[in-house]
């Protein structure tokens, strides 16, 4: 089982406040890894460090390493733009651009320099199929992405990420704004996606983590309290705090 | 029928205003005829409102300051608006004195103009210009666009920047009357137009190829050209040698009386005329 991402002694600060405390973690290729924990525990912060979206917040500081395929992403030589092409992200709120469905998916490839209409069409179709959205939208590719339902929008955003051909997909509570049926669809989609991609998901929904993930990390107050195979975390948690959280005693 | 009536009325207006004008000019562009017994200081009181020509305004303000210094109980308010506005205001009775920097037209309402000073208009160029004099005909041709290069009037080889006042300006009217109009020419449409003596002065002072015309009071920093070999000086204007001269008027609705009369007499008297001379205007001929 190959390790895709190695996190080594990672500390992260917002100004003087420490948000992550010496995190050590190996994330495995072609698996779904879930990060759970109460609000403010640092799980989203950790997720956003993996494609350096954390750079957007001013006055922050990183210590330690995040190695993807052995390469430290915080090294000066790393091109953050290339990193983000390799590490895609799906957000809590579906955020399609105010463009057509086609243009939403074609956006990434266009930026990478693909302008050939046929090639783009092919990428758009494949990506939408992978995101299990093709059948619903193939007749209306020129309609605005904003006209779709919330669940469809989220799958459109996933298709948009897939179109740039990433290796890792980060999902930040991708279902929190969706209804149960849409949630189920996204979960099925994730199971498909892990065949080709490494998926990391932040979720508040413990059933979801239990259903879809292979590994689960429980975080609290900036620390990775427990990290193991999902089955173990939910059945035989080693840490008392983790057990309390999972059984619903706090959080 | 109606057209005859109309033209008759026009003739009437023409006659009456011409007569008035003639009367004023005869009576005087010489100073106030019968010297009034100077009233005791402090005797006069009240408020005089004046409005009209912006060319008259600076002079009127100085005269008013001197007048109120002499009679502290009198207030004189001077405002601008332009000659036409001055005529309209006095005709409508909204002010006590109107001001105009041009003759009253026959199409305008009946008012009584009283000359308070005269103003010469000088042809000015940049100080770097080597030219010293021109003929009126040359100036007319420059303004009509028939002469476009300084070398054609004896200067350097450079395109002339023609700078003029805007349509309706009193300064422009006198210029048109004595210069372009005298040769049946018109100021060309592609001349540059500015709306004050000050603006013309700054334009000509900054552009070494410019020619313009301004009141005598505004020639500082500029080079004035002799016109037909006559320098634009107050003496030459007063003696009638320098041709481009206009009259500045105070306007009243009826024969002035009370403090309005006192003020106009003051302006036309030695004290007022001294101010006019100091400011570069041509004073009325003093006895």
């Amino acid at each position: 089982m190959a390790v895709k991402i190695q996190i080594r002694d990672l500390n992260f600060f917002y100004g003087p406040a420490q948000a992550l405390k010496s995190i050590n973690m190996d994330i495995y290729e072609n698996k779904i890894t879930a990060l759970i924990g109460p609000s403010g525990c640092g799980k989203t912060t950790l997720l956003r460090l993996m494609n350096r979206m954390s750079d957007l917040v001013p006055d922050t500081r990183v210590e330690g390493q995040v190695l993807i395929d052995g390469q430290d992403i915080f090294e000066k030589s790393v091109d953050v733009v290339n990193l983000r092409k390799k590490v895609g992200m799906v957000f809590q709120q579906p955020n399609p651009f105010p463009k057509t469905i086609f243009e939403n998916v074609a956006y990434g490839p266009r930026m990478l320099g693909t302008n050939d209409k046929q090639a783009l069409s092919k990428i758009v179709e494949e990506s939408l199929k992978k995101a299990a959205l093709w059948d619903e939208v193939k007749e209306m590719l020129n309609k605005s992405g904003m006209t779709l339902s919330g669940g469809q929008q989220q799958r459109l955003c996933i298709a948009r990420v897939l179109a740039v051909n990433p290796q890792i997909i980060l999902m930040d509570e991708p279902c929190s704004a969706l209804d149960p049926i849409s949630t189920l669809k996204i979960e099925e989609l994730m199971m498909d996606l892990k065949k080709e991609y490494t998926v990391i998901i932040v979720t508040h929904n413990m059933q979801q983590a239990a259903r879809v993930s292979d590994y689960t990390g429980f975080m609290l107050l900036g620390e990775l309290v427990e990290y193991a195979v999902t089955r173990e975390i939910f059945n035989v948690p080693k840490d008392k705090r983790c057990e309390d959280y999972i059984t619903g005693r706090f959080g | 029928m109606s057209s005859i009536k109309h033209s008759m009325k026009k003739v009437g207006v023409l006659l009456s205003s011409t007569l008035l004008l003639a009367a004023v000019i005869l009576a005087g562009c010489a100073p106030a005829s019968a010297p009034v017994a100077t009233p005791q200081a402090g005797e006069l009181s009240g408020t005089i409102n004046e409005a009209g020509s912006t060319s008259v305004q600076p002079l009127a303000e100085l005269m008013a300051t001197a007048f109120t210094a002499k009679y502290p109980k009198v207030t004189v308010n001077i405002s601008g608006g332009g000659s036409s506005a001055g005529v309209k205001a006095i005709a409508a009775g909204t002010v006590d004195i109107g001001a105009a920097s041009r003759d009253i037209k026959i199409t305008e309402p009946d008012v009584i103009p009283v000359c308070i000073a005269r103003d010469g208009v000088a042809i000015v160029v940049n100080e770097a210009n080597s030219l010293t004099g021109v003929t009126i005909e040359q100036v007319a041709k420059i303004y009509a666009g028939e002469i476009t290069n300084w070398k054609d009037v004896g200067g350097n080889d450079a395109t002339i920047t023609v700078v003029s006042r805007e349509e309706g300006s009193g300064t422009r009217e006198v210029f048109e009357e004595y210069v372009t109009g005298a040769f049946k020419k018109k100021i060309k449409a592609d001349a540059l137009f500015f709306d004050s003596n000050g603006a013309i002065r700054s334009k000509v002072a900054s552009d070494k190829n410019a020619v313009g015309y301004v009141s005598f009071g505004y020639v500082a920093g500029l080079k004035t050209l002799m016109v037909n070999n006559v320098a634009p000086t107050i003496e030459n204007a007063q003696s009638g040698k320098y041709p481009i001269v206009r009259r500045l008027y105070f306007l009243t609705k009826s024969v002035p009386s009370g403090i309005v009369k006192e003020f106009i007499d003051f302006c036309r008297g030695p004290e007022g005329q001294k101010i006019a001379l100091n400011e570069g205007y041509i004073p009325l001929v003093l006895k």
Binding site: L56 | K105, A189, D190
Partner: protein
């Protein structure tokens, strides 16, 4: 039941209703006053301008090439073209500059620079028009003259001065509409590997499009209406400019230059020019506000 209806009928309640009604109508009245003032101004301009349209003919007035008061020739085509050129020229400079500045302020500049540049631009609004004119006259015009293209008073000089004057309008409205673009769009683009520039160009600006167009239209209204600074740097020649170095005259410039001495048909013709301007600006502003409203929907 009976208790409630009793309390509704209490005299205090009646008084409150009168009081409330009074204020409602008072506010209507204040709202109406500003509209009535506009209406009166329009009415006055039309009344004074109407005789000119009647005597000259609307078409002859608008398409006439000559403006010669001594000949009673009143055609404002050169001024319409002059105003149009200057406005277009100003927008060609101020729109790119304004959009870049707004983008710079919202998405690029560090907080320090932002807190210096934004007030500086807002300060531009407070500078009197005459000061712009003076700076243009004493600095810009001589520079253009020294470049060897005529007297320096020109469409170019006017466009540059005007561009600076409309810049705050364009920057502030564009900035507002860029700020209104949800951050999620930015994150979405960046997470796909967009560079900051690609994000701004492909996602942020298109999303802010209607606000930007509104800013341009409102800036245009300001540009056409601007007078004082214009007459100081444009030369005011009554010709159709044949290059950016040529002098020209604007519609508002004609009014400002000639109104104080005008009488008779000249007076009416100047007000008729005002009518043309009024209609121009009315159309532009309605368009601009429609765009703004479209954005807020």
């Amino acid at each position: 039941m009976s208790k409630i209806s009793d309390s509704v009928l209490q005299p205090g309640c009646e008084l409150r209703r009168v009081y409330d009604g009074f204020w409602r109508y008072a506010i209507y009245l204040f709202g109406a006053i500003s509209f009535i003032i506009l209406l009166l101004i329009a009415l006055f301009i039309f009344r004074e301008g109407y005789p000119a349209f009647q005597k000259i003919g609307i078409w002859q007035f608008i398409s006439g090439l000559r403006w010669d008061v001594s000949d009673q020739a009143y055609g404002i085509l050169p001024m319409i073209i002059g105003s149009t050129y200057v406005t277009i020229g100003a927008l060609l400079i101020s729109v790119p500059l304004g959009i870049f500045t707004a983008v710079f302020l919202t998405d690029v500049a560090p907080q320090m620079m932002r807190s210096i540049i934004r007030p500086a631009i807002e300060l531009l609004v407070g500078i009197p028009s005459v000061v712009y004119g003076l700076v243009g006259m004493l600095m810009l015009v001589p520079i253009i003259r020294q470049s060897g293209h005529g007297s320096g008073d020109s469409v170019l000089a006017a466009s540059i001065v005007l561009a600076v004057m409309v810049l705050p309008t364009i920057v502030s409205i564009t900035e507002d509409s860029i700020i209104a673009v949800p951050n999620a769009y930015r994150e979405g683009a960046l997470s796909l590997g967009a560079t900051r520039w690609q994000m701004i160009w492909h996602v942020v600006l298109p999303a802010a499009k209607s606000g930007i167009i509104a800013s341009i239209v409102l800036g245009m209204g300001r540009a056409i209406g601007e007078t004082m600074a214009m007459i100081m740097v444009i030369g005011n020649s009554i010709i159709i400019p044949d290059s950016i170095f040529s002098p020209a005259r604007t519609l508002t410039g004609t009014l400002a230059l000639e109104l104080k001495y005008a009488a008779g048909l000249h007076w009416n013709a100047l007000f008729a020019t005002g009518v043309v301007l009024f209609v121009f600006i009315l159309i532009l502003n309605s368009f601009g506000f429609l765009m703004l409203r479209g954005k807020n929907k």
